[in-house]
Amino acid sequence: MKPDSVIIELSPRFEVGAKKALQNTQLRRNMGKATQTIRAKRSAVVDEKSDWQALREAGWQIKADVMAQLDTYLVQLEAAVTAAGGVVHWARDAREANHIVTELIRQTGTNEIIKVKSLTTDEIRLNEHLEEAGIQAIETDLAELIIQLANEKSSHILVPAIHKNRSEIRALFQKAMNLPDLTDEPKALAAAARQYLREKFMSVKVATSGANFAIAETGSVCVVESEGNGRMCLTMPDVLITVMGIEKILPKWQDLGVFMQLLPRSSTGERMNPYTSIWTGVTPGDGPQQFHLVLLDNGRTSVLADAVGRQTLHCIRCSACINICPVYERTGGHAYGSVYPGPIGAILTPQLVGTAHASSLPYASSLCGACYDVCPVKINIPEVLVHLRGQVVAEKQKTLAGALDVEAWGMQGLATVFANRRAYEAAQSAGRLAQWPFVNDGYIDQGPGPLAAWTAMRDLGAIPQQSFRSWWRERQKHEQ
């Protein structure tokens, strides 16, 4: 069942969106440059850590423990946050979370909030919901601001405007901020954003954020960022509302010692990100005097229930898998039609909304395994992709159209052939015979049926006259 009121644009299938994106030369250039840059930075700061594999293993184990005892840790977190002066809310789905946040904002009497970049609030489409309620949400992260000004959707979980280059950003800012003389120097662009948002930070009374981590034993919440917009939102307003997926919890304070090494190095390729804020409830005289923590399920407990898929919840949203992915590098994020693009999106999205609603995403990968190699918490993404493909096929076969599907018939037919040596050998001979109208100088350049997708772009070597096994048999005969 698809959870209520979720999230994700699943209009075109991945291959349709991808085909369109692949033709955008500017996008290809921007994505190629950005991913090459970040890969080099990541590998430099990961390679200098001789204990990296031990850190990954610790990250995996801590998260496995979280998943096994999630109920206990959530109750513990709730008690600690409450004791520190915060208020904890529970939201089963996007609708409940949006409702809670809207009501909390309404109670303050304001119709304007500032936001720290948060995937979780993107996932539940908080901004759109608030707009309907007459509340304007101002994104304060530079990339989110760019996207908001361009009226576009994010294409990367960490750098939502990764698909835009500096001159495109300049053009946007020139118009939106009325700065005709703005240059495309990144420093100048950043300064423009600083000026544009400063007044908001000084005056707006309510902020929302997500959470990178929350510590069950202490009730502390952690936000990792670069620009200082996070510090602003977490410090300046009177009221802070944090929306957090339930899987973001860590059992102990000490666990941050592991994750604050894994995350920055995997994410922006830095030894440490510029700013990390950690707060525990409310502190008199320092920061917001009202703190609300909204714990969001929105399909996560369904993911948890799947013994193979569960590891997806280990994700700390670093984006290393996205940056390394050769598919993402070429298609960009919009082709995935989800708040979560790239390899992690290809496994998370179908699990959150149900494979029936995102059936092309588990196939948006060549299973090259680069994502698994770089994942700081060792999520075996290829394994989960294959697992989800199994679910897609099983679901398809339940329908009439699925049962009549050409691919399904072909696969079943081949499996029957492979299950019997004689049938297999007969099929080898039949294939050799059937191909002759198409073979030209040992190659097929215009294949029939399913081969056409292959030969549209590449030639196909013809089946040779003698199979290996027939050669082997001859050889055995001669030796006797």
């Binding site: 610790a58 959530l74 529970w90 670069s226 700013y275 707060w279 502190t283 407990t301």
Partner: protein, 215 residues
């Protein structure tokens, strides 16, 4: 609301019943590095070097020279009016500058100053990070956030080697007074434009660090 709580907890219990439940928290047995292999001078040198790599200016002096070094830096930038926490060490305060102690200062006053001077709770050598926890000489979070210039005085004795060591030391702070913390690694920066790090967005665009040698 409580029904959502019960429903979620129920769903979780149902979900994890299908799988391993005997998972152990691994902190005790972990094989990752907790302590570095450096001696104290090497560690300070690493700290200084890594802070500099974030394009922050780093100086080092004896405790008696801190006030003079701060004054030199302020002169370089032409700063005149500085805010600082009320409990910032007297002997480190530069002479000849307008120093405004934060006694419930309005945010606009803090923002309008030329900069802020503070000390810190910890330094982390391996990552070039300074940690503020609202303790003595650090003030509330707003104070070190709004001004465009931040000069942070870091006593060498407060520099630890690794990130896990830092969290171990900070555990008592969290336990005792639930203080909000800020980890600062270089000046405000963004990687949002073509994934290149450029300095200077909303936090202080200039960060300077003065390491105070052990007496």
């Amino acid at each position: 609301m409580s029904s959502s709580r019960d429903a979620m907890l129920h769903r979780i219990r149902h979900a994890v019943a299908n799988g391993v439940r005997q998972s152990q928290h691994p902190t005790e047995s972990a094989a990752y590095e907790v302590h570095d292999q450096l001696d104290a001078p090497q560690r300070i040198a690493q700290f200084a070097h890594r802070v500099e790599e974030y394009k922050a200016w780093v100086g080092e002096c004896d405790t008696s020279a801190v006030a003079r070094m701060i004054a030199q830096r302020l002169a370089v930038h032409g700063h005149r009016t500085l805010v600082l926490p009320h409990d910032f060490v007297q002997m480190w305060r530069p002479e000849g500058y307008e120093l405004i102690e934060d006694d419930h200062l309005p945010a606009a006053h803090i923002a309008a100053s030329d900069g802020v001077i503070s000390t810190c709770a910890l330094g982390i050598a391996q990552t070039g990070t300074i940690v503020l926890d609202g303790g003595v000489g650090q003030g509330r979070r707003m104070l070190t956030l709004l001004p465009d210039y931040h000069c942070c005085v870091v006593p060498a004795s407060l520099v630890v080697g690794t990130v896990p060591e830092a969290f171990a030391r900070l555990e008592s702070v969290i336990g005792d007074r639930r203080a909000p913390m800020t980890f600062i690694s270089g000046p405000s920066a963004t990687s949002d434009i073509e994934l290149n790090r450029v300095e200077g967005v909303h936090g202080p665009r200039t960060l300077e660090v003065i390491i105070v040698r052990d007496a």
